[in-house]
Symmetry: D2
Subunit: 137 residues, 4 copies
């Protein structure tokens, strides 16, 4: 398993008239979480697309909203890869507020597209190699 | 069961560098779908909050992404209430492209908060009354 | 001069904790205004890029905020081209609320890029031709 | 004069199909810039609203777009207060890319509203006091 924490502050732009972080802004937090998890492995999602011509569209997203987040809170985006990616990569997310209460959980699955053929492929070695040490017994 | 269709065009602001409608923008489409479904029943979500002091936070959202949506496509947001709301209201969404292919499905559940007490309540009569005719045998 | 009105409703996603349409969401309204003005001339901005390989990046935007807009208001985006486009096209926008009060004005200037050479060009005939009748004496 | 630099990365959510940071996302960068400038003075914009009941709506925004910003770039938001705030506070922004080229400049003016009376007021002492040392001769 591989876990990575990244902090992000709730901005005015992201609040709604209820005074909450708008429910539709959470997917951007998960994007940030997974891109920074990947960066923490020494690779860059940008290079996936630009250099390796692989892109990762999202296939599913399941969110549970437990507590609201408020303006200016410094949230923790906890991103987790629990299984070695194969045809899909599955990320589990937990958003924690400043009191470290879990306010939101989510699972997001993405697949791999070879941008030159526009066909689905398996997880590229590029991603598999740096993850392996965290999964081997 | 009650179904309502509403059309929305994909805007430049909503696309990403993949050329797709960004995956995190779908929740805004579901917001539009459910608010317009409610309006089609002769009530306004704005009045829920301003007049009746009831707000509807989202408790869960499950999305399946089937096909991408592209810039300027005139999408159909099909919103469906399959069960009379009780403690929760459950909306099922289907997004169709111009060829009427289903590109995306989702389920979103919301609960009811009395804004004066900040406590959960059952679906207000205001919403139950206009829905009833579509569910009675 | 060519003027075109288009209506858009303020969505929950676009409000902020002040209860207003967030100040940073107005540029999306201007995007909608100019794209729909262009469509009203019988051309599509999508075709500019896809067929004619011309894109229009924004070079400047000047906004004056006069009154707030609120959730669920059905705003009018009034878009105006006052001069025939040359190296630039200049759009003037006025946003009106339901009482037809002007709540916001803006000027947005865009230039033309030939996407095959990545160089600036003059306004393409494609856009000049349908605008001409509105400017000739 | 008071200057403050804050870094922000361009996210996928913020790109458009041109591959650029969407022109309408810059105002969010200015929001981040001014809020972090204020925080660097030892005060919090959140407290302005919650504790001191003062809010700062935007009255004007003038932007010049010089160069595009791209996905994953780590941009510098340089925020500047050049004059002591009176009835208005004026912020000048400069966005710099990783090569420290200025890609964007803007001026944003905000005024002060007493949230209890909903009337305009002068810059509160709360903001004037920590800024003064940077302006006195």
């Amino acid at each position: 398993m591989y876990i990575f924490d990244f902090k992000k502050r709730v901005r005015y732009a992201e609040t709604d008239k209820m005074g909450y972080l708008y429910y539709g802004n959470y997917p951007k937090y998960y994007e940030i979480g997974r891109v920074e998890l990947i960066r923490s492995l020494g690779i860059s999602y940008k290079d996936f697309e630009d250099v390796h011509k692989v892109m990762l569209p999202v296939v599913s997203m399941d969110i549970r909203y437990k507590l609201p987040a408020y303006y200016d809170e410094h949230l923790t985006i906890r991103s987790r890869v629990e299984q070695m990616p194969t045809k899909l990569i599955s990320f589990d997310f937990e958003i924690l507020n400043e009191e470290l209460k879990t306010i939101n959980t989510a699972n997001v699955k993405l697949f791999f597209i070879d941008m030159t053929t526009n066909k689905r492929i398996s997880a590229p070695e590029l991603l598999v190699a740096p993850l392996k040490p965290y999964f081997e017994i």
